[in-house]
């Protein structure tokens, strides 16, 4: 049983006092890297973070770099002080508990294997420090090595291992402790694409073999979608949305989440929401899309105040389908460029300055030898009913 509760967690990095340069030169000001809030206390890296990670749940923190996800993880680990708020692991407040006493294990992005120790020693180190009997250490290390398939490397130094093998050792080092909580800080980002996919699949398998609560940090939305029971999307130190992969994909809370989750990115266009009787549609100067009845119902139920009716519409590339020329409700665009991805082709089309990306199966694309999709040519498409997401232009929140 290991539940992690984060209550109003906040992290402020105190502002460094401006120091005079020893030789009277003016120190270069670092360019502003993100939109993190700066207060009198310093830079606010994380704020208003509330989350309950249930026992044996796999939660992924995801967001662009500098969003505070690693800081949050490091606060759970005890490697960073918590500026304010409460952190509970297993019902016990651990704000001031040393990392070693939190019953956690951490996998670092750089693996952080001790180069002076063999794989065996690396994995045994934490148990030796706990004064676990020698034969028990041996059994645990060999068991973990067995699970991860690194038994034949136990006598090697980390330097003699490949990236993927080092990654396994780093995970093995975490497993031997049999911790309540596994913390992983971008563990796959140093691997090449192919190995990353492979290790991702192995992590999913591993999770069913070892029973623990996982908190996993990544900037890669694919990893987040495939690994997480729930995903926490962060930006500029704030939580944007917490939900299952399906929830955040189908009902993104705001524009940021909509754009961040899903590859290729959701298409956005500015439009006006028009209300005629019980029907709603969105209009742009060149085309208009009627919304599905369910969407209309939700909109009326929500009683949204439209004001000027200006909204940002979003439609996922997969939910845009090809249409016959001049078909009703179809939109005409000009093909800018096509990217062959393998089984699909991403076609970029320009509609009055707004760019739309469509995903077309390669079979369809090359039916006429690609003649139908020449760069600069016309393309007709329409939106699936239910496909259109509506966001408030000012608050960027999802209206439905």
């Amino acid at each position: 049983m290991a539940e992690i509760i984060l209550k109003n967690i906040k992290k402020v990095y105190p502002a460094e006092k401006e120091r005079k340069h020893p030789f009277g030169k003016k120190a270069d000001h670092e360019p502003k890297k993100s939109n993190l809030q700066v207060t009198d206390e310093g830079v606010v890296a994380v704020q208003d973070f509330n989350l309950t990670v249930h026992d044996q749940e796999f939660v992924v923190l995801v967001g662009p770099s500098g969003c505070g996800k690693s800081t949050t993880l490091r606060m759970i680990a005890g490697l960073e002080d918590i500026s304010s708020g409460d952190l509970y692991i297993d019902g016990k407040r651990v704000n001031d508990v040393a990392p070693k006493d939190r019953d956690i294990a951490m996998v670092f992005q750089s693996y952080a294997l001790y180069p002076n120790m063999t794989v065996y020693e690396n994995m045994a180190f934490t148990l030796e420090l706990k004064k676990v009997p020698k034969d028990e250490i041996d059994r645990k290390v060999r068991d973990a090595a067995e699970i991860l398939g690194i038994t034949q490397y136990l006598d090697r130094k980390p330097k003699a291992l490949s990236g993927g093998q080092r990654q396994r050792v780093a995970i093995g080092r975490a497993i031997v402790r049999d911790p309540k909580v596994f913390l992983m800080d971008e563990p796959l980002s140093n691997l090449d694409a192919k190995l990353r996919n492979q290790m991702r699949a192995e992590l999913i398998k591993l999770r069913h073999k070892v029973h623990g609560t996982f908190v996993y940090v990544t900037h890669d939305q694919t990893e987040a979608m495939t690994l997480g029971d729930r995903i926490v999307i962060m930006r500029d130190g704030y939580v944007q949305q917490i939900g299952t992969p399906q929830e955040v994909f189908n009902h993104p809370a705001n524009l940021f989440v909509a754009g961040f989750i899903g590859v290729p990115q959701m298409n956005f266009f500015d439009a006006r929401l028009v209300h005629v009787g019980n029907e709603f549609h969105v209009e742009t100067p060149t085309f208009s899309v009627s919304l599905a009845p369910e969407t209309c119902m939700k909109l009326s139920e929500a009683g949204v105040d439209f004001g000027s009716g200006q909204v940002v519409c979003g439609a996922r590339p997969e939910q845009i389908e090809l249409a016959r020329p001049n078909e009703s409700g179809a939109v005409r665009g000009k093909i800018v460029v096509s990217e062959l991805m393998g089984s699909t082709v991403h076609v970029h089309a320009d509609v009055d300055g707004a760019e739309f990306v469509l995903v077309i199966p390669t079979v369809d694309f090359s039916r006429n030898g690609g003649e139908d999709f020449l760069d600069g040519g016309d393309i007709w498409f329409k939106f699936e009913p239910n496909a259109v997401h509506l966001f408030d232009k000012a608050t960027e929140r999802n209206l439905i």
Partner: protein, 284 residues
Amino acid sequence: MGKVLKKWWPLFVLPTVLSFTFGFIIPFFQGAYLSFCKFKTINKATFVGFSNYAAAFQDPEFAHAFWLTAAFAFLSTVLINVIALAIALALTRKGLKGTNAFRTVFFMPNLIGGIVLGYIWQILINAVLSSVGAQLLSLNTTAGFWGMIVLTLWQQVGYMMIIYIAGLQSIPSDYLEAAKVDGANAWQTLWKVKIPNLMSTITICLFLSLTNGFKLFDQNLALTGGDPDHMSEMLALNIYNTFYSRVGAKWMGIGQAKAVIFCILVVCISLVQLKITRSKEVQQ
């Protein structure tokens, strides 16, 4: 650019090769040859075989200087490195204020020349000795030895500290954080993580302090001058005195022989030390 360099590189290498040849290689071999000769100037040398070496080995002062130097080099190496590492560890701690000021202060003695240091410390130590009623440096062998240790520490700890700080800062913070999560306390982190990853730095510092210890000359000359009765005379000073302070033509050759023995000794000890510590180095 590459082509030009390929064609003209000898021209650029020439100054260094010439100065190294005339300033080091030729005098070195000439000196080695002279150690087998009786000579007054290098043009008036007569070959005498190994007799200079025989005389050098039979010189009790040389033997005494050797053991004194060995003891000094060993003790100063240990103390310099332990203290320098301790200060480096203290000054690399997070959140410590004024670290730069401390680093500067500790490094400063290194900027003062050995002779000046020797005389300053002679005055200091003599003042202390006289205030406690002990014999002054010129009559006091133990005070001479420990005086040199103190002086050397004072001069070299700061220098080694800078190298250790650089070494400590190059250890990835991930290792230290991993050790924290693994449950290692400060002492265990030091022995199991920091020191093993610091071995290449330790190699350099041991090499420098060991060879410095053997080659110590200025400080020895200025602090005690070998007094009383050559009892605090170390190898380099002994060689110098043999060469310049004795009357008679044979002493030049003997001094030269001692210098060659000294050179071989220092090279051998450093090589052994390098071999031992290198084997402990880890590659990341």
